[in-house]
């Protein structure tokens, strides 16, 4: 396939965990069609799963009537993943802010629950992870993962 990089896949997801398996597998298949290795695709599947899971579980207004926006920018040498949601409870926002602080200081993320472990795995599998919460509590996680074979 003769693809021109970069290109973007964007999708708005309902706030429902059941949608994640289909989405993560779709991203994995697109990456392999785009020439990325099966290992890269698997690791990217883990990343997409973890940050979508986090957004649906802790963001998107606590998971009720919310929406999560996923964008994957596929470059020839890397994948960028951005997930945005419209914020969760104040406790969720504080949790993410703490995650931002720890990520910037290079500290391990606290093991609040499996969501905390998910973000820790994302951190270990990616070159950069940037978590932002704006003044309207819209939260976004931006992850960059480079391919190993270029």
């Amino acid at each position: 396939m003769d693809l021109t990089f970069p290109y973007t896949i964007s999708v708005r997801l309902p706030s429902d965990l059941e949608i994640i398996p289909s989405i993560r597998k779709f991203v994995s298949e697109v990456l392999q069609v785009s020439g990325f290795s099966a290992k890269f695709a698997f690791r990217s599947e883990i990343i997409v799963d973890a940050i979508c899971n986090n957004a649906i579980t802790h963001g998107s207004s606590g998971g009720v009537d919310g929406e999560v926006e996923l964008s994957c920018v596929i470059h020839g040498d890397r994948l960028e993943v951005v997930v945005r949601d419209n914020g969760g409870s104040s406790a969720d926002i504080e949790r993410l802010k703490e995650a931002v602080r720890r990520t910037r200081l290079g500290l391990p993320l606290p093991d609040y629950d499996s969501g905390g472990m998910g973000l820790e795995i994302v951190k270990l599998l990616s070159e950069t992870i940037d978590i932002n919460v704006d003044e309207n509590n819209v939260t976004s996680i931006h992850v960059v993962r480079r391919r190993e074979d270029v």
């Binding site: 698997f42 690791r43 973890a50 899971n53 499996s114």
Partner: protein, 118 residues
């Protein structure tokens, strides 16, 4: 939505309180409740020594890893074990990355795990 994992259970000759439990599919947040219920039922039936065959387990996410650690702990608390075999390379790598490889009983082959049952 239909669960993306199947679990089957098989007796082990000469081991009354042990079973091989085969996992087929993906273990993630959409089916951990189902898997937890199944394994907890085995524990409740006195089957506290489990050899988990992951040969056809394609994928495990962080939620799935959490329940594997939970099963390992619960089995030991009951005087049993939760031994994992036949991990694919990708799943093993994720377990290793989070530092759980040393916390779980992992074997290359089912025969090795069965031989290690008390």
């Amino acid at each position: 939505m239909e669960t993306q994992i199947q679990i089957t259970c098989e007796e082990i000759a000469g081991k009354a309180n042990a079973r091989i439990v085969r996992f087929v599919g993906d273990l993630d947040a959409t089916n951990v409740d189902y898997v937890t219920e199944q394994i907890t039922n085995y524990f409740g039936d006195g089957l506290v020594k489990i050899v988990a065959d992951f040969k056809q387990l394609r994928y495990v996410n962080s939620t799935g890893l959490g329940v594997l650690l939970h099963f390992n702990k619960s089995a030991k608390e009951r005087g049993g074990c939760f031994k994992i075999t036949n991990l694919n390379e990708n799943v093993y790598e994720i377990i290793e990355i989070i530092g759980a490889a040393s916390l779980l009983d992992i074997y290359d082959e089912i025969s090795e795990a069965i031989a290690a049952l008390d």
